[in-house]
């Protein structure tokens, strides 16, 4: 509750746009008010060449001291809540097989079409667009880092849909076609949604987690 109220107060006081990313340039933390030109985070071309810290420095002239302080306060509150594991039930917006699902733990989602994972396979859903709880939300631009957020799921069932009848008829033309279709369905149970208390933590090198050397 406290974080959302802070956020509204902060945003009300700012005339400029007030949204930015954390170290993870693709992450937008609601309530985070470090002001920086939004177009910078969307121009991908130079982000691969420049380290992220350099990116932040380029735009820091536009951030006031007060805004910086407020935003850092907010982020530390979120990190503290995550560390103490008092965030409660989290929901996530996940992108799977071309569709977006709003999920929480214990949810079952149905994925339509031919999909390789078999029954019992444990998956980590990578494309997470948004994670939210009762006190904060992390909005990805467009996705959140999989190092920060992890959504784990298990395949519980692979079945076919109900029989769909495709009936085409042209009247008085003696043209009539009937076809029956059943599409494969995969049922996924969402096991957990976890966020690490590392929001806006600047790592020396990104993208190392899960790599085998």
């Amino acid at each position: 509750m406290f974080v959302v109220n802070k956020f509204t107060a902060l945003l009300a006081s700012l005339n400029k746009f007030a949204l930015s990313g954390c170290i993870n340039k693709y992450v937008l933390l609601c309530g985070h008010t470090e002001a920086r030109p939004l177009w910078r985070s969307t121009t991908v071309s130079h982000l691969h060449s420049l380290p992220v810290t350099q990116n932040m420095i380029l735009a820091s002239s536009e951030t006031t001291e007060e805004e910086e302080k407020q935003s850092n306060e907010l982020i530390s509150k979120v990190n503290k809540q995550l560390q103490q594991q008092r965030e409660g039930r989290l929901f996530a917006v996940v992108h799977v097989c071309g569709k977006q699902f709003k999920v929480t733990t214990e949810d079952i989602i149905i994925i339509e079409g031919n999909w390789a994972p078999q029954i019992g396979d444990k998956l980590k859903l990578e494309k997470v667009l948004l994670v939210g709880g009762s006190d904060f939300s992390l909005i990805g631009r467009p996705i959140l880092s999989s190092e920060l957020v992890s959504v784990h799921a298990t395949v519980i069932e692979k079945a076919l849909s109900h029989i769909k009848t495709i009936f085409r008829k042209k009247k008085r033309q003696q043209y009539q076609r009937i076809n029956f279709k059943r599409t494969p369905h995969t049922m996924l149970r969402i096991n957990s949604i976890q966020v690490k208390p590392e929001v806006n933590v600047k790592k020396a090198v990104e993208g190392l987690e899960g790599r085998i050397f």
Partner: protein, 149 residues
């Protein structure tokens, strides 16, 4: 009685007329009037129903999209923002949530939706788009859930 020769002028259409008709009548069991019991009427009604079901699958997707747009518009208007500006603001910020998700958030996650509105509003006001008004309370005739506290 034993018939040693075929009877005259008798047509045998086939052994499974009953089951062919039963296939149609099973589908028409919930129709109105004679269309559920009389085969000649039932077959016409069933064909129409199947054609509508086939065409309806495409229309359902269009209807759902329109419904989501209405719901998102309602959610935005609660904060005194318009839907086109909201969408434009989100896309400019590279937030790629689709209409289904945005509608779900507008209904079930009002705080998250409000923060999305603020993000979009900040972006469109920074970019100087036309028609940007200050975020605030919903119009006077509208009653929202948050008012009953």
């Amino acid at each position: 009685m034993v018939f040693t020769s075929l009877a005259l002028f008798v047509r045998n259409k086939g052994p499974d007329e009953f089951w062919k008709k039963r296939r149609i009548l099973k589908l028409s069991a919930h129709f109105y009037g004679r269309s559920r019991n009389c085969y000649s009427l039932a077959i016409r009604a069933v064909h129409r129903a199947l054609v509508f079901a086939t065409k309806g699958r495409k229309l359902k997707k269009e209807d759902m999209a329109a419904l989501w747009e209405t719901r998102i518009t309602a959610g935005c208007e609660e904060h005194n923002m318009t839907y086109p500006l909201f969408r434009e603001g989100l896309t400019r910020c590279n937030i790629l949530l689709n209409r289904k998700t945005l509608a779900d958030l507008a209904i079930w996650e009002p705080r998250t939706f409000k923060s999305l509105v603020k993000v979009a509003h900040a972006r469109v006001s920074q970019d100087g788009l036309a028609g940007v008004t200050e975020l605030g309370d919903p119009p006077s005739e509208v009653i929202t859930r948050g008012m009953f506290k």
